[in-house]
C-alpha cells in the first residue's frame, strides 16, 4: 500500500518562498529569540553591578575583557544569532504582508495583544538602539565626557574610552555615570528599553508556542513568563539611566 502519493500542484501565488518552511522559520525565530533573551538578562545582571559601585562594575568588565578568545567567540555567536533573528524577521514579515495583498476595508483585531502587532516596529527600534549603544559604549564615538585636567585644574573633554579608575582598569562605571547624567542620552535609553520590554512581552511567551511547547497545565504560566521577562528587563534596564539622570546614583563620582 502506498502512502502519501497525492500530486502536489504548483503554487499559483506570487508570495516569495522562504529559505525554509514557515514552521522551521518560526523554530529559528524562537531559538534565536530565546538566546537573545538570555543575553539581555545576563547583560542586564552585569550592568546592575553599577549599584554596587565602581569597583564591582569595573572588575566585572575586566573579567569579561580577560576572557580573550572566548570573548570573541561569544561576540561572533551573538552577532550570528542577531543576524538570523533579524534576517528571518524581515523575510517572514514580507511573506506575511504578501500573503494578504488586499486588506480589509474594516480592519479589526479580535484577540491579538498590542505588542504582538508591533513586533517588527519594536524590533527595528531595538536594532537601531543596539547600533547606537555599540557606537556609544563599545566604540565611544557618540560623545565625549568632561574630565578635570591635572595640569590646569580646568575641565577638558575626553574620549569616554580613555577613562581609567585608580587601579588602572578601564572605567566602565565612569562611562555609565557620565553618559547617563545627560538627559538626552538617558531618555533615549529609557525609550528603547520600554520598547524592548514590549517586544519581549510577546516574544518571550510566543517562542514556547512556536516550538510546540504547549500544555493546558502550563499555558497560563507560559503567558506569565513573557510578562515577567518584560517587566524584569523593563524595570531593571530603565532603572539605571533613570536613577543616574536623577542623581540618585553616582552623584559623588568624579573622573580621574
Amino acid at each position: 500500500m502506498s502512502t502519501m502519493t497525492a500530486p502536489r500542484p504548483a503554487a499559483r501565488t506570487n508570495v516569495a518562498p522562504l529559505p525554509v518552511s514557515t514552521l522551521a522559520a518560526k523554530y529559528w525565530m524562537a531559538i534565536t529569540g530565546l538566546l537573545l533573551v538570555a543575553f539581555v538578562l545576563v547583560h542586564m545582571a552585569g550592568n546592575l553591578l553599577v549599584y554596587r559601585g565602581q569597583d564591582a562594575l569595573n572588575g566585572y568588565a575586566k573579567f569579561l575583557k580577560g576572557m580573550g578568545p572566548m570573548l570573541w567567540i561569544a561576540r561572533g555567536g551573538l552577532l550570528l544569532v542577531f543576524l538570523v533573528h533579524i534576517g528571518l524577521a524581515f523575510r517572514l514579515s514580507r511573506r506575511n504582508r504578501q500573503a494578504r495583498p488586499i486588506g480589509y476595508q474594516v480592519e479589526r483585531t479580535l484577540r491579538a495583544s498590542l505588542p504582538s502587532k508591533y513586533m517588527l516596529l519594536t524590533g527595528l527600534v531595538i536594532l537601531a538602539f543596539v547600533i547606537f549603544h555599540l557606537a556609544h559604549y563599545t566604540l565611544g564615538i557618540v560623545h565625549q565626557v568632561p574630565v578635570k585636567d591635572p595640569q590646569t585644574g580646568g575641565e577638558v573633554m575626553r574620549d569616554m574610552l580613555s577613562l581609567h579608575d585608580q587601579q588602572g582598569r578601564h572605567d566602565v562605571y565612569g562611562m555609565v555615570i557620565l553618559a547617563f547624567r545627560q538627559p538626552v542620552i538617558s531618555l533615549s535609553y529609557i525609550l528603547a528599553q520600554l520598547l524592548l520590554a514590549l517586544h519581549l512581552y510577546h516574544g518571550a511567551s510566543s517562542m514556547f508556542q512556536s516550538l510546540g511547547l504547549n500544555h493546558s497545565r502550563y499555558n497560563a504560566l507560559i503567558q506569565k513568563v513573557g510578562a515577567a521577562v518584560a517587566v524584569i528587563v523593563g524595570v531593571g534596564n530603565v532603572s539605571m539611566p533613570l536613577t543616574i539622570m536623577l542623581g540618585l546614583v553616582g552623584q559623588g563620582y568624579q573622573p580621574l
Partner: protein
C-alpha cells in the same frame, strides 16, 4: 408576539468584483424593512431579489447548508470573519445581532491563497490541495471494519474530535493578520495523528501538508490567536503547537527528501 417585531433599515457596504481580474470596489446598498428574525444571508437574498428586479447583478456569496455545519459560507462582516457571534458561521448570523440603522461592511476572505472569484466568493481550492497532499488515511478497500475493532482511549478520541470539528471554512485565514492557514492545517494534522488509523502516515503527512500550505502562499503564524477567536468550531491554537511538534518530529524522522511526493510502495 406576531406582528410585534420592529422592522429594521440598514446600510450595506458590499465588496463587488466582476471577476478575478476586476479590481473590485465597495458598493453601498440600502436594506429596508428587514425582519430581525431573518438570517444575514436571507437579508442578502432579499437585497438580491430587489437587485434582480432592477436588472442589476445580484451579490455573489457562497452558502450551502445554512445550518453552520458545511463550512461553505464565509463573509467578513464589519471586520469579523463570520460576523459578531462567537462559535458561529456566517449563516448563523441573524439580523437581531445588529441594530436598526447600522452600517454593515461585507467583504470576502482576504488572502493570496484565496483569490476572489466574484464579489464575496473566494476560491478555496488551496485547502483541497492541502488535504490532497496528506490529509487522508490510506486504507485498502473492502468490507467495512467493525467500528469498535480498534480501541481508542476516550480522552484521545475527544481530542481528535475537537480537531476534526474543523469544517474547512477558512475563517482562520481570513482572521489571521498574516493570512496564515496554520489552524486549518494543524486541525487536520492533529485529528489524523491522534488516531491509530492516521498514526501510520503521521510522519509524511505533516511534511506534505506543511509544504503544500507554504506553496499555496499562506503566511506564517505569529501566535496572536486571531484564528482561534474567529473559528466557528472553536478549534484551539493548542493544535498549532501540536503541528509544530509533529513537523519537528517529522524533520528528524522522515526518510524522504523534500519535494519527493511519490509513494514508496
Amino acid at each position: 408576539m406576531a406582528g410585534a417585531t420592529k422592522l429594521m433599515n440598514l446600510t450595506l457596504h458590499v465588496w463587488r468584483q466582476k471577476g478575478p481580474s476586476d479590481p473590485g470596489r465597495m458598493v453601498e446598498y440600502k436594506a429596508t424593512n428587514v425582519s430581525p428574525d431573518m438570517s444575514l444571508l436571507e437579508m442578502l437574498d432579499v437585497v438580491n431579489d430587489e437587485l434582480t428586479e432592477k436588472g442589476e447583478e445580484p451579490i455573489a456569496f457562497e452558502f450551502d447548508c445554512r445550518e453552520g455545519i458545511c463550512g461553505t459560507c464565509g463573509l467578513v462582516i464589519n471586520g469579523r470573519p463570520h460576523g459578531p457571534n462567537k462559535a458561529a458561521t456566517t449563516c448563523q448570523v441573524y439580523m437581531r445581532d445588529f441594530t436598526d440603522g447600522d452600517h454593515l461592511y461585507i467583504e470576502p476572505w482576504r488572502a493570496a491563497g484565496f483569490p476572489v472569484l466574484k464579489d464575496c466568493v473566494v476560491d478555496r481550492a488551496a485547502f483541497d490541495r492541502i488535504i490532497q497532499a496528506g490529509g487522508f488515511v490510506s486504507v485498502n478497500t473492502g468490507n467495512a471494519v467493525d467500528g469498535n475493532a480498534i480501541p481508542i482511549p476516550k480522552h484521545q478520541a475527544n481530542l481528535a474530535m475537537d480537531a476534526a470539528a474543523c469544517i474547512g471554512c477558512g475563517a482562520c485565514v481570513a482572521a489571521c493578520k498574516n493570512a496564515s492557514a496554520m489552524l486549518f492545517v494543524a486541525a487536520k494534522v492533529s485529528h489524523l495523528a491522534l488516531l491509530p488509523q492516521g498514526e501510520v502516515e503521521r510522519t509524511e503527512r505533516v511534511r506534505q501538508m506543511v509544504y503544500q500550505m507554504d506553496a499555496e502562499g499562506f503566511g506564517a503564524c505569529t501566535n496572536q490567536a486571531e484564528c482561534e477567536a474567529a473559528c466557528p468550531k472553536e478549534i484551539s491554537i493548542d493544535f498549532i503547537a501540536k503541528m509544530n511538534r509533529e513537523f519537528m518530529r517529522s524533520c528528524t524522522l522522515s526518510q524522504k527528501s523534500r519535494g519527493d511526493s511519490g509513494g514508496t510502495g
